[in-house]
């Protein structure tokens, strides 16, 4: 009896406490189970979760503007976008330095396309400016060279801008990435930045060496501005370089020295560069992340005082989301109404007959979606089979044929037909498990046919309806081929717009935002379904 009063831990055979031993055994089991599903988990993660996550991330990602135009985005931060005026000259200078690099890398049109989504017309501004920007500052280049031809010589510029240890290793094969000298960066910050950008760009883009090439004109523009700001720059250098800089610094003070305005140069390329709206767009979309796509997806836009509703002429997504929900619901309901009796018959026939009939349910399932959709066109159009029959029967007049396609009715009919098997199959497998003796028992206790069905049979078939409804509704919400073909103007879904932005406009950010909203709405509905009906109540068989 003393054993039972012992309060110490129960020990396993090997002396460890049983609790710990049990926990270890369970953990081993879990690890083994995990190892078994690991390949699948990894597969799902790599091919499903990650790509979807990447796509969703695009709905907020906006780094292209600040990466392509780093100097400009920094400069516009202080720009008063609501002041009604274009930014100052220095911002245009920054744009010239950014754009000349971007044009060499051929990415200027990409940032133009990105901004064009927000403000129509910007794409051609960037396209045109990219063609001419490397001439900007040519007037300075010419004057510097006239002053001293050495300004054109790569080696003279290397002596000015390059880090001496870099210059020592430059020129050969596998040239290291260009490094600027800290002295130059201190007294000639703009020119060093412009020269460095040029040197690194030609290194990576053209496999050229700055020791052999002449820089583009904007470098000289930057040099002019630096010398104007800091006429004493020569003192930081020695020898020829110092002499050349001193001579140049003196020359730019002379009244004969010609200057140019980058602002005017941009406006010459296209007058819209002076449009404050263009600059407001650049400023608004200069951050790395943006909520702009989501605002667009909800029919909003970034106005002067925060988000504002778009003009009525451009509102579309709200309508489409609502329509997608309502029509998917209508399709789900018509699938239930049409599918329930079919599933009931299938479940109550002898299995031999049921199997034959099952093929009839599955046959459309195996037919191409496009064929089925086109078949509905033939059936429903005004010169189609149904109208012809109705006219022949005299039910409708020949000149007053029914319009049954290219509208919501057409979409609902065609999609109900296409999605019906997804409703019938789960219902059928649930109904098969309902014991027929329950119905007989109910009737023997005095229930009418209807009561027996409604009180006994129907509640047991609800899990099948639930599973079918979820399947059909979620499939319907994402359909786009059928609505596109038979939906006309009033029967198209939000997915048609997502498809448009993915494949036509290439505005993947907006497509991602629309997709994210759709996903969240579906999850919310799923959650609501769980709260109201209970997800445990769903059975596929």
């Amino acid at each position: 009896m003393s054993d039972t009063t012992d309060t110490g831990p129960v020990l396993a055979a090997d002396g460890t406490p049983l609790k710990r031993s049990l926990a270890r055994a369970l953990r081993m089991q879990k690890m083994r189970a995990l190892a078994l599903i690991a390949p699948l988990l990894l597969f799902v993660l790599l091919t499903f979760i990650l790509p979807i996550g990447d796509m969703l991330f695009r709905s907020v990602e906006n780094s292209i503007v600040s990466e392509t135009l780093p100097r400009t985005t920094a400069a516009v931060q202080t720009y008063d976008a609501d002041g009604g005026e274009a930014p100052p000259e220095s911002t245009f200078d920054a744009l010239a330095y950014d754009l000349v690099v971007a044009a060499e890398k051929k990415v200027h049109t990409r940032v133009g396309s990105r901004l064009n989504y927000e403000n129509a017309g910007i794409s051609s501004l960037f396209r045109k400016a990219g063609r001419k920007v490397d001439d900007m500052g040519e007037v300075y280049l010419d004057q510097f060279v006239e002053l001293d031809p050495a300004w054109e010589e790569p080696q003279a510029l290397i002596a000015l801008f390059a880090d001496p240890s870099w210059a020592a290793s430059a020129g050969g094969e596998d040239e290291p990435r260009f490094e600027y000298s800290s002295a130059a960066a201190e007294v000639l910050p703009g020119a060093t930045d412009a020269y460095t950008a040029w040197a690194r760009t030609i290194q990576t883009e053209d496999q050229d060496s700055p020791t052999k090439e002449e820089p583009w004109a904007p470098v000289y523009m930057a040099l002019y501005h630096d010398l104007a700001d800091n006429p004493d720059a020569a003192s930081a250098f020695e020898g020829d370089t110092a002499a050349r800089l001193a001579a140049a610094a003196a020359a730019i003070q002379s009244p004969e020295w010609q200057t140019m305005s980058t602002r005017d140069a941009f406006v010459d390329i296209d007058e819209d560069w002076a449009d404050p709206e263009v600059w407001r767009t650049i400023k608004t979309y200069s951050s790395k992340y943006t909520n702009g796509y989501f605002l667009n997806a909800a029919d909003f836009q970034k106005g002067h005082d925060g988000p504002e509703l778009r003009p009525e002429l451009q509102r579309i997504y709200g309508t489409l989301f609502l329509r997608t929900m309502i029509m998917s619901l209508a399709i789900t309901v018509s699938c239930i109404v049409l599918g329930y009796p079919v599933a009931w018959i299938l479940a109550n026939l002898p299995s031999r007959t049921a199997n034959v009939l099952m093929i009839l349910v599955l046959l459309p399932f195996w037919t191409s979606l496009l064929v089925r959709t086109s078949a509905w066109k033939v059936m429903l159009q005004q010169q189609g089979v149904i109208n012809d029959v109705l006219v022949w029967l005299g039910i409708v007049a020949d000149n007053d044929r029914l319009v049954m396609i290219n509208n919501q009715f057409g979409t609902i009919v065609a999609m109900t037909h296409i999605l019906l098997p997804f409703m019938i199959l789960p219902m059928y497998s649930v109904m098969q498990t309902i014991n027929p003796s329950y119905l007989r028992a109910a009737k023997s206790l005095g229930a009418t046919n209807w009561t027996a069905f409604w009180r006994v049979y129907f509640p047991q078939s609800v899990p099948g309806i639930g599973a079918g409804s979820i399947l059909v509704f979620i499939l319907a919400i994402g359909y786009y081929i059928t609505p596109e073909l038979v939906g006309g103007t009033k029967g198209v879904f939000i997915s048609n717009r997502i498809a448009f932005h993915i494949s036509q406009s290439l505005n993947w950010g907006l497509a991602a935002a629309l997709g994210t909203i759709l996903l969240v709405v579906v999850l919310l509905l799923y959650w609501a379904y769980d709260k109201i009906v209970g997800i445990d109540n769903v059975k596929l068989g």
Binding site: G121, Q382, T489, N507
Partner: protein, 368 residues
Amino acid sequence: MKLRNLSALAATTALCAPMALAADMANEMTLVSWGGAYQQSQLKAYVEPYLEMNPDVTVVWDESSAEATAKLRAMSEAGNVTWDLVDVVASDAMRLCDEGLAMEIDPDEDLAAAPDGTSASDDFGDLLVSDCFVPQIVYSTTFGYRTDLVGDTAPSSVCDVFDLEAFPGKRALQKRPIDNMEWALFCDGVAKDEIYDVLGTDEGVARALAKLDTIKDSVVWWTAGAETPQLLADGEVVMGSTFNGRLFSAIAEQDQPIGMLWDMQSFDLDGWIVPEGLPEDRKARVMDFLKFATDTQRLADQAKYISYGPARASSAPLVGKHEELGIDMAPHMPTDPANATNVHIYDYEWWADNRDDMDAKFQAWLAQ
């Protein structure tokens, strides 16, 4: 530049390595096109002749031109571009060029000169609408009508499309703003050369949509080029816009009671782009093919199989008869002087800027 270097190199090393150039070319090429009769015309006119000259080469077709922009971007992001030459319409070529997904092409270096020595850039002329684009054909979006359903007087002006009294019944229009907006403004009294100025304003857009509103209830909107010929054949619509080649095959090959309405036909271009970032051997092969496939004779040959006008000026006089039907093709070309009396010139630059914006407005109007 590169080609010249290559050929110079080939010339200098010709003695010791005569096959150097050919050996540097890949022997498989993936061409992307539209499928159907158009792809067939390309196959007959230049792919088969090229394969005869280069028996080692195999060509794989991918019928993905309709989704080419999206697929090419996805391939480029994945770092694995499997296409070598892609057939796209001009506006898509501009978009791909802007996105850096298509390679820039120097017409005088990369393309063949005309037989009389005219340089390729002069021979293609204004049709080189993008730095990355080599046009093959000029097609037009224009109207066909059912000769037996329009009454005694056939429609003769694009504005008859907007005239529901004279021509009752449904019309098929493409489900996009391009062309429809211009036709609407033209028929609302805007002069042809002012269309884009007017369309650039909010009032102009409202005006175009208001004009379209007058027929909105009678319009069937199509998205695929095959729809209009089918709708016309079924008698679902009395008139509809589509590509002129589709109407040609409905009329000439299928004997449908359909007439052509060439008034205000909208010219557009279709051609090749080479994806950016191809490995050198594949690039060498595809540039070799491109030069052959876009020369004067090849483009003229293509017109034997489909009623689209060759993009080179020098090809036009060489256009002959239809390969199977034996009918003269010139009168069926959108560029034929008799058909081109009143032509709508589509402004690529304007649409590249305004396509997305205009599309949002157009779709919002459709959904109302």
